[in-house]
Symmetry: C2
Subunit: 254 residues, 2 copies
Amino acid sequence: MNIVLLGSGNVATHLALALRAIGENIVQVFSPNLINAKALADRVDSAYINNLAQINTDADLYIISVKDDAIVEVARKLADVNGLVVHTSGTTDIKVLSTEVKHAGVFYPLQTFSRTKSVDFKTIPLCLEANEASQLELLQLLATRLSNKVYQLDGEKRKVLHLAAVFACNFTNHVYALASQILNANGLHFDIIRPLIAETADKVMADLPENVQTGPAIRQDEGTINKHLTMLADLPELQEIYQTLSDSIKLVHK
Amino acid sequence: MNIVLLGSGNVATHLALALRAIGENIVQVFSPNLINAKALADRVDSAYINNLAQINTDADLYIISVKDDAIVEVARKLADVNGLVVHTSGTTDIKVLSTEVKHAGVFYPLQTFSRTKSVDFKTIPLCLEANEASQLELLQLLATRLSNKVYQLDGEKRKVLHLAAVFACNFTNHVYALASQILNANGLHFDIIRPLIAETADKVMADLPENVQTGPAIRQDEGTINKHLTMLADLPELQEIYQTLSDSIKLVHK
């Protein structure tokens, strides 16, 4: 398949590398920043452009992987292409594309991508949507070669998934950061808590989190909770989060 | 070394199995519930009792691994023993023991233990404290055979560590549970989000969480934040947590 990739950020980069690894042909990489376009294009043996007027109009698939609020602007320049145009956003409606292009779809990888850390694409859930059955089939054929976890989800369910992902990834990482802040303020290294973080995640790989909750809040251990709130007296934001999350644990498990 | 284990819960069980695995001699397991005492004792070739009057007074080490508020009550029955008496609690002061027994210490494994899931003890941080240098040395000799991560920490630092662990483990798991609740309410299975949870934890194994934060809050993406708050209108507790954690991310990264 001939693929044009529009974007050069973390999602675009990891996706491009995974597509190249299964032998797909990335014919063009677009980025408004030519240096970024070239950097990614060089890694996947592709041409590169920073001007959408130069877009290759004969590709089979156009993957828009840019910031959510820039998607529509890019899509507008793809009005004339006959290939399928997809975005990779969890929150953006397919209509944002289908009002601009001939064939629209969504190709949403549910994962957190880092600039430097490689990921095994086979384990990444790929959430697909398309307006036409033939286009959905094309996406499914591609997705099942990239990953073992392919889902067909409509826009509403995809948005729910993205919301859940904010809790499971963004908020989780921030709670790690708050633990790091507490350790740091007391001369302790984050390293000491890494095995606990790894095991906490590992426990829910084969069980549901509601079945493995531990700690003072679920034990209704008010003595420990009050000691902790006192220790956080100088960090009122953390004190509020401690209180809010402890109350929520008690409520869920009452 | 001859060891008496007081307790039969998750910490006591995993610790007993790890001690047995390195060839230590568990001479007695105590639990107020004789069935629980026997169940653990049978797994580590030990005698068992449910009456502290029958305690073996000749052991080298007594490990009290019971609920925090039951520690002092157990320690009182060990006033006559000459061996070292330790507890395994993150929040309990060493003084709770040292006012009751001849030689007091702390042996705190920083990990979340499940009844059924095995853990590699070699990776578990063991936090040690003792009133006497010779007793600390005894604990260190034992701990370094059990784990590659042995720390000597005073009670204040251990309490800070326990507080950080509530964030990194208990609150993290609860945030997973909230994601599960959102998915469940919309007919989506928790399985779809497991790879994201695994990667989110894996990312902070080699980096600090404050360096790898992603999501709408750090991007100051108010459009997405407001959409998410609207989606949570029927779940006001989750809405409050979403708002509180998003505000905290913005504050830390401003």
